[in-house]
């Protein structure tokens, strides 16, 4: 237990300090959202209709781009080998790393959402709904993306290939995240059903992600 909490503390500290780059995700999120009005035109009614989708897409891309390095830095300085060889089960260590990544890179995205909702002409309730769905859904993005990160480090490939592999897996999260936020804004569906499925997706990925990532690390590292 102390080993895991030490791992989480270490990862968060590295991510937040110089060279970590967790907060670059927020900056990227902001840039993507600011780009959107240029693409679709500064029509406030249209922006408030597209708002949840834009916020979700931005969060999805931001969390995907920061995930690329989840295992890479540890692999380069050798600490990944120590984690693999330690007595802590690799699955738990992977889960701890993903949790630390979500705390350092995922939570700031949710904190930034209200500000960005203001830019997209979302009212208070809509912004709260999007933030709530992001809070429930981004863990799923992190934990499925972790599989891609583990494959990236074992294959020495990153970037586009990993995006191509991981993005299809994240489509259900996107569907239900946007559906739940839209349900609050325009109806006619209830918020509860898609939101529960979103939570279920997060829980399922919480179970599957660490095992798949650990399997790929165990079989792939040499």
């Amino acid at each position: 237990m102390t080993a895991l909490s030490a791992l989480i503390r270490r990862d968060i500290r590295i991510a937040l300090r110089v060279g970590g780059g967790a907060l670059i995700g927020v900056l990227f999120f902001l840039t993507v959202v600011v780009l959107m009005p240029f693409a679709v035109g500064p029509d406030l009614a249209l922006l408030s209709r597209l708002g949840p989708a834009i916020l979700w897409l931005g969060a999805l891309l931001a969390s995907l781009l920061t995930l690329d390095r989840l295992f890479m830095a540890d692999h380069e300085d050798g600490s990944l080998d120590l984690i693999t060889m330690s007595r802590t089960p690799l699955e738990l260590a992977c889960a701890a790393k993903a949790l630390a990544h979500w705390l350092a890179a995922g939570l700031p995205l949710i904190v930034a959402t209200p500000v960005l909702g203001l830019l997209l002409n979302l009212d208070m309730v809509a912004t709260a709904a999007v933030a709530l769905t992001l809070l429930a859904g981004t863990p799923a993005l992190t934990f499925t993306g972790m599989i891609g990160a583990a494959l990236a480090v074992t294959l020495h490939r990153g970037g586009l290939l990993m995006a191509v592999l991981v993005l299809p897996l994240s489509i259900p999260v996107l569907i239900f995240g946007v559906a739940a936020s839209q349900a609050v804004i325009v109806g006619p569906m209830t918020f509860g059903a898609p939101f529960s499925i979103l939570c279920a997706l997060s829980l399922v990925s919480l179970v599957i992600g660490p095992f798949a990532a650990a399997a790929s690390l165990r079989h792939g590292l040499d």
Partner: protein, 262 residues
């Protein structure tokens, strides 16, 4: 003859060389019978002649999921039992599965145009099959991106098993969500909802397409084994050249360095 006996690629090649002509002949025969029966099947009272697209569409859609199932079992073979042919099977199946999935999407949209009035609808069944298609393409990209086959095999196996989660979603998407795509009618509780005049040609076509997959898969596995042999022969040749240059003395020193660097 068990699966372990097939672990020897030479034995596998010899066996498949004997089986393949028979499989191909059976496939052609069944396809001919199925197509003939499908052509003879009566028009539907609502859909008219477009109902005949179903005889191609449904087997393709079944196969698109079946092939991923085969790849998942092969992936278990790679990760758990380390069967030497498992990754060959998984690699050979991916392009075939992608082709079946593409054909299912294509025939579905050709049928959807006159029936639903649109080529494409973002409904749950269609979307989940499209995701399956994207995952097939991603898997093929993964196989192509890594030059060492055994390293690519383990990564692809993990990804295949994770992607297998999509299969039940595709199967039950028409029951869970009230979608445009019609719910299951052939395999369901209380017997098939299809009339015999449609059901029999459909089943014949399904068996024919399954045989087609097995034939193509075995042939593709043979090709993959032979391709790997050619690759290792080339590697051996390259290292022999490098080695003979090395003992050739100082004259060959530069050449061997170049080969080593390459």
């Amino acid at each position: 003859m068990t699966l372990i006996d097939l672990a020897n690629p030479t034995r596998f090649l010899a066996l498949t060389a004997r089986i393949l002509p028979w499989l191909a002949a059976a496939t052609v025969l069944l396809l001919a019978i199925g197509l003939y029966q499908a052509a003879l099947a009566p028009d539907d009272y609502q859909q008219g002649a477009t109902v005949k697209i179903m005889f191609i569409h449904v087997p393709n859609a079944w196969l698109s999921m079946f092939v991923w199932g085969v790849m998942s079992i092969a992936s278990l073979g790679t990760l758990v039992w380390r069967h030497p042919l498992a990754d060959v099977a998984a690699k050979a199946a991916a392009p075939i599965g992608a082709a079946f999935t593409f054909l299912a999407l294509l025939t579905g949209s050709l049928w959807g145009r006159p029936m639903w009035g649109t080529y494409w609808e973002w409904d749950a069944r269609l979307t989940s099959v499209l995701i399956l298609f994207l995952m097939y393409l991603g898997l093929m990209a993964l196989w192509r991106a890594v030059d060492d086959p055994s390293r690519a095999a383990r990564a692809a196996a993990v990804l295949t098993l994770v992607g297998a989660l999509n299969l039940p979603i595709i199967k039950f998407s028409v029951d869970w969500w009230n979608t445009l795509h019609q719910p299951a009618s052939v395999m369901r509780m209380g017997g098939s909802a299809l009339d015999k005049s449609f059901l029999i040609p459909l089943l014949v076509m399904a068996v024919a397409f399954t045989l087609l997959f097995v034939t193509l898969h075995l042939a593709a596995m043979r090709n993959e084994i032979l391709r790997r042999r050619v690759r290792s022969l080339q590697m051996m040749q390259a290292s022999r050249v490098a080695f003979s240059n090395e003992i050739g003395g100082a004259r060959g020193q530069n050449a061997s360095n170049e080969v080593g660097a390459a």
